[in-house]
């Protein structure tokens, strides 16, 4: 996630040894850094355009990678964070390559999620943690547990149905607040979070009441963290049944 800090030795080795490296990174400085690891690095940035469906962009990414695989090259796709988390093209490219009989492998990386737990100082295992892409959360009925953490990703384009926008504004986030208000009070503290991508940066952490989310300054890199609002509710029936098993020494 952070330049210099979070690239694994194995990921670096794959980048250095590939015949061609395709990149989708978080910022231009990291592009320059990564370009020094291999003489043949191609950025996917030209494939993005506001107004163009990202579905088309992702298909083009997959096509670019598989074309080189079919040409007999060792291809590396370097995606910021973890290549398999909230990342469509890497999964698609690997599935397609394997379907065509090629070897393909995903190497895990340090993601914004990993940085989030460290920077905000909470353990997802303590109360549970739910993750959704913000627009998907709005477009579908999702059942959430307000006694667990709720993390909404890509909050900067919340409510975008076109997949062609690089931002949505306060009115879209107000609709998100309307959805969240069914479970959370408007004064409930939420957190806007952005991981550091350069080692000159600290994580950006903004705490605010839910009602102020529409007017908050939100960009593409930000994530919304909603802490639990209810205490965990004991499941008395199951506890009693577990205790009965314990009493007879069952496994």
């Amino acid at each position: 996630m952070t330049l210099g800090s979070h690239i694994t030795p194995l990921a670096r080795s794959y980048i250095e040894k590939a015949d061609i490296v395709f990149t989708a990174l978080s910022d231009g400085i990291i592009e320059l850094w990564l370009a020094r690891m291999n003489p043949n690095v191609r950025s996917f940035q030209p494939l993005y355009k506001e107004g163009k469906s990202r579905g088309d962009t992702y298909r083009e990414m997959v096509e670019a990678m598989i074309t080189e695989v079919r040409a007999g090259k060792h291809v590396c796709g370097a995606f910021y964070g973890h290549p398999g988390i909230f990342a469509l093209p890497p999964h698609k490219a690997i599935a397609l390559a394997r379907a065509e009989g090629y070897q393909a492998h995903m190497e895990p990386g340090v993601s914004a999620e990993d940085c989030l737990y460290a920077d905000l100082g909470f353990d997802p295992g303590r109360y549970g943690c739910q993750h959704y892409e913000a627009s998907q959360f709005m477009l579908y009925h999702r059942r959430i547990d307000p006694s667990a953490y709720l993390i909404l990703w890509q909050i900067g384009v919340a409510g975008d149905q076109s997949f062609a926008r690089f931002s949505t504004g306060p009115q879209y986030r107000q609709l998100l607040v309307d959805v969240l208000a069914k479970e959370y009070e408007l004064g409930h503290e939420v957190i806007l979070y952005r991981a550091a991508t350069l080692p000159t940066q600290e994580a950006r952490i903004v705490r605010l009441p839910l009602r102020e989310l529409p007017q908050a300054e939100v960009d593409l890199h930000m994530t919304l963290v909603i802490p639990p609002i209810h205490a965990l509710e004991p499941n008395v029936e199951i506890r009693e049944r577990l205790s009965a098993l314990d009493a007879v020494g069952e496994n």
Binding site: T2, L3, G4, S5, H6, F22, T23, A24, L25, S26, D27, G28, I29, E31, L32, W33, L34, A35, R36, N40, V41, R42, S43, F44, Q45, P46, L47, Y48, R54, G55, D56, Y58, R59, E60, M61, E63, A64, F79, F86, A87, L88, P90, K92, A95, E133, Q136, L139, W153, Q154, V157, Q161, F163, F166, L198, P199, T200, Q201, E202, L220, H221
Partner: protein
């Protein structure tokens, strides 16, 4: 430029520097012969200025995920069938990073 990238990499991977005080980092920048302009941008955490001074791409889009839509099959097993039915995208030249 490569000195600054080297410096950023060192800053990221050196536990003695990553969260060091401003004065320690300033000393490290001086040792690395970083130009005053770049040092100022680094000290301010001014990413935009850094990008401009280094000739890096700005306004990089980092989204690589798209949510499901109504026309997408809700059953994950059917995603592959739908993708296979779509024609390959047109070829778009990709930039080589210098």
């Amino acid at each position: 430029m490569s000195d600054v990238i080297d410096f950023l990499e060192r800053l990221g991977e050196d536990s003695g520097l990553r969260y060091a005080s401003a004065s320690v980092i300033e000393g490290a920048m001086e040792e690395a012969h970083i130009s005053p302009e770049l040092r100022a941008a680094l000290a301010r955490g001014d990413q935009r200025s850094l990008e401009q001074l280094l000739g890096a791409a700005t306004n990089v889009c980092c989204m690589i995920h798209a949510p499901l839509r109504e026309e997408e099959p809700a059953d994950p097993r059917k995603w592959r069938e739908k993708e296979d039915a779509q024609s390959a995208a047109s070829q778009v030249p990709l930039s080589r990073i210098a």
